[in-house]
Point group: C2
């Protein structure tokens, strides 16, 4: 048995944050980054440069890896089939990843399995809009079936004119328009699990996610006000999806919670923003368990190390220099954990996150938001 | 203000474990490693290759760094003075590092400051031995004043013949023989603090260290059976030493505890084996606080995240392949934290460590020793 090499396609912050557990595990870790100064490429020793949709780049990067995995869902499955054909494992496999890439395929498959989805339909014409609205009324949701992220490719449609105009606009190749019922939720939650090829799974505490302009802003672990029974129900949905789709690695299932029911919103088959709290707040971080899962190693405990963990994203503001904030942030709060991603600051861009772990939820929320607001320049004291 | 670059001289496991907090802080991190496949060089993006005692190598590596720090104490201070002369900060500075390099200088300085040392003397002749033994009797300790580590360069001398023969053997350049009283201790402890150039200091919980054949084998945080008063006394000794010697970064003060008194044994001005537990057991690891200290950032909380943390070193045994142990180790104990250093296994060599964090000390000790013994091949189930 030799020490394996895991290759991660994508050089963003998820690959960057995977580097620490890769080093602790003592495995070899390689990243395919688009640019030499990308987030993960700044900190990883073994970096290949190339695009995730360039077959030669992906295949060249994969040679010498024991398993290829992902920092995002956008690698064309045809390229992954070629990687597999050369005897290199791909985890999650293209047959699973397909359902994270194509939201229509995901809705079909989850609905067929009896899993709770909003009312949905593929739409192409004004007549399709009218037929759909008979079931849901306005407003409703229109999404592109492929290629969206962080709120991009998702619209709340308030009337017929808006809907008809939207679906007349150009679509990415292979994409269609997907209409979905607007769920009147009381909160959004994320249920994360890790699953290995052997079928072992562990479920993280279900968390509350708060979105702002389509971007995850705040995560509270565990989700406040969610009963144990309902939390286990959300975990069971995530475990069932992972088994149905044969997901390997981390799976995040984002759901709407109406207070009595859950509706599945999105799937992510990789470490996910809703699990960043686990670096500082769980026995085993999502990044470590993703690596352990794709290597088919027994999974680590997902249990929390304190009653609560709060994660708040740092969004770029009008301050280009994040480092200079440390003097204030750290002097004010010696217990706060800060993670910066080495990204150029642009307004609204995720450039880092802060985590506060402890037992007083209000205190953790105040501290984490203060730090994130100070980093972004929204406050100056 | 720009994002600074910290350069760490030495490519061992301390530099390797510093890479994770450097990435989280979003700073630039460069390592000077002797070989391209050294422990830290395997995982750090920015690596220079060269020896720590080669002035050109150290100076070339230092250009572009804002501050130079260390994974070991062995860089000649003359080279560090040259780095300083080029306007690059060196932390800890050569004036402080001198006392970690030269045990006679350390004894002189600490004794002058009234800090508790064993009886000691420089010895060169049989007459010196006889004069020293009048104060201490046999057995006593003989050390080389420079260059020893992990029990190398330290002897317990049981009679006059052994002492006289030993001090007739060759010494490294600049070294002398140091005789020290053998302290009849009940336990060994380590008091670690972090100190910034501004003078801010934080003290970690005092730990018990257990040595085996001169190598640190087990660390328990906090030290069992040590009263709060005595723990604070040990922390006060470490804080006083750091202030006296103007140490910047992490300082570990290893002490003998007789049950009523502490005697200073060794100093380390860098992250230290006795603080590895802090990665998984403290709010801020020693590696993060070392970086924050040398950057003169406010220091992080050194408080524990659970009542106890136990760290046990993995020593090389007759099993060359550490990775294959994971299947058993992780399946048996999903809560254990393993850190492997990417080093070739050699008998007795430190190749990793395991940490168990929780509230039941006996359970943590059993689990951590089981894993370390399994990795080394001492047990096979």
């Amino acid at each position: 048995m030799h020490t394996p090499r895991v290759g991660m396609v994508g050089g963003g912050q998820l690959a960057r944050m995977s580097a620490a557990p890769a080093a602790a595990l003592g495995i070899n870790f390689r990243v395919l980054a688009t640019e030499p100064d990308e987030s993960a490429a700044q900190v990883v020793a073994d970096v290949a440069i190339g695009r995730h949709d360039d077959a030669d780049a992906v295949l060249g990067f994969a040679v010498g890896c024991d398993v290829v995995t992902f920092d995002h869902e956008h690698v064309p499955t045809a390229i992954l089939e070629e990687v597999l054909a050369r005897g290199i494992d791909v985890r999650p496999g293209p047959h699973a990843l397909h359902f994270a890439q194509d939201k229509v395929a995901m809705r079909e498959r989850l609905s067929a399995a009896g899993l709770p989805c909003p009312i949905w339909s593929v739409i192409a014409t004004a007549e399709d809009v009218d037929a759909f609205v008979e079931q849901t009324g306005y407003p409703f949701i229109i999404k592109t079936s492929r290629g969206g992220y962080d709120g991009k490719g998702v619209w709340v449609v308030r009337d017929r004119a808006q809907a008809v105009e939207l679906i007349a606009s150009p679509l990415a190749p292979g994409a269609v328009w997907l209409a979905e019922e607007l769920i009147n939720f009381t909160q959004e939650i994320s249920a994360q699990i890790a699953r290995s090829p052997s079928g072992q799974s562990v479920a993280y505490p279900v968390v509350r996610t708060v979105q702002k302009d389509g971007i995850c802003s705040e995560v509270i672990a565990p989700c406040p006000g969610l009963s144990d029974d309902r939390a286990m129900q959300a975990q069971a949905i995530a475990l069932q999806i992972a088994a149905e789709l044969d997901v390997v690695g981390m799976l995040a299932v984002e759901m709407f919670d109406t207070g009595t029911e859950f509706f599945i919103n999105e799937l992510a088959m990789r470490p996910h923003n809703s699990g960043h709290w686990s670096i500082d707040g769980a026995n085993t971080s999502q990044f470590e368990n993703h690596l352990r899962a794709v290597l088919d190693l027994p999974l680590g405990s997902p249990l929390m190390q304190a009653p609560y963990a709060v994660m708040v994203n740092i969004l770029g503001g009008d301050v280009g220099d994040l480092y200079s904030a440390y003097r204030h942030i750290y002097a004010r709060d010696p217990g706060l954990k800060v993670h910066l991603y080495g990204k150029e600051v642009k307004p609204g861009r995720k450039v880092g996150h802060v985590t506060a772990v402890g037992s007083d939820l209000e205190d953790l929320l105040t501290r984490a938001h203060h730090a994130a607001d100070y980093f972004s320049g929204a406050i100056d004291e």
